[in-house]
């Protein structure tokens, strides 16, 4: 009974930042267009706005039994509370993407590969705060290119957002991707 490697991504913030949508898009990209198994789950406080909210995607070549993150390879933190809550479960040397305008305190230990991406500012540049999650998705893609191609992600993104916002979402995705590519050296 072979046991396959798991690749675990966690996105956290507060309700209304599109955290859940990122998870759904990633899962669709991996499992419908990317040929891998994935499980996407989400937590939600009773607060639908302003409360703790996280979305996770566990990816594997084989079956995925335990559906939740055990030892996250990637954490995207869009608020300080989110970082404080989940930084402890990010793998030693894991990838940490955060919004420097929202997240100001990061514990020194952990050896994380840190990527400060101003998702709120870049979203406003694209036209509206609601594109913050597409920016974050683009930034994430630039950091996990060895795990997934761009085409499945783009297909999943287009399929998961209201039709009239597809172009702006794509623009936001590109903004996030290019920001990472330009601000962080290639081998990061």
């Amino acid at each position: 009974m072979t046991r396959h490697q798991r690749f675990e991504i966690r996105i956290a913030g507060f309700g209304g930042q599109g955290v859940v949508t990122i998870g759904r898009i990633l899962g669709t990209a991996f499992s419908v267009y990317g040929g891998q198994n994935s499980v996407n789950t989400q937590s939600y406080g009773p607060e639908s706005r302003g409360g703790a909210c996280r979305s996770e995607v566990v990816v594997s070549e084989g079956d995925i039994n335990y559906p939740y993150v055990r030892n996250a390879d990637v954490l995207i933190a869009l608020s300080q509370v989110a970082l404080d809550t989940y930084i402890g479960e990010l793998k030693e040397g894991g990838i940490l993407v955060f919004d420097p305008d929202a997240v100001t305190r990061i514990p020194p230990a952990g050896g994380y590969l840190r990527y400060a991406v101003p998702t709120v500012a870049l979203a406003h540049e694209t036209g509206d705060l609601k594109y913050q999650n597409a920016v974050a998705l683009g930034a994430l893609y630039a950091l996990i290119r060895n795990r997934i191609e761009e085409a499945p992600l783009v297909k999943a993104l287009r399929q998961s957002v209201p039709p009239k916002t597809i172009n702006t979402n794509m623009a936001a995705f590109d903004k996030g991707k290019r920001y990472v590519q330009s601000h962080f050296s290639r081998e990061a």
Binding site: F14, G50, S79, A102, T104, L129
Partner: protein, 73 residues
């Protein structure tokens, strides 16, 4: 002159207080706080009559007005 007292922890930037203020004494600030909210701030407080409508309609018990006799005690 009356002063605006705002609890920035409780306030969620709904700005109903600004809408309810009959004289436009308070207004929305121009920056977003760490939670992504736009908070109310003092506008032209000379217009404030101390009617307390802002305090009464606040959904989060976050705003109140300090009048002279409040602060004068």
């Amino acid at each position: 002159m009356n002063r605006l007292c705002l609890n920035a922890t409780y306030c969620k930037g709904c700005l109903i207080c600004v809408e309810a203020c009959p004289t436009g004494a308070i207004t929305a600030s121009d920056r977003i706080n760490s939670k992504g909210y736009v908070l109310p701030r003092e506008g032209d407080m000379r217009r404030c009559t101390g009617c307390n409508l802002c305090e009464t309609v606040c959904p989060d018990f976050a705003i109140t007005i300090e009048t002279e006799d409040d602060s004068g005690e």
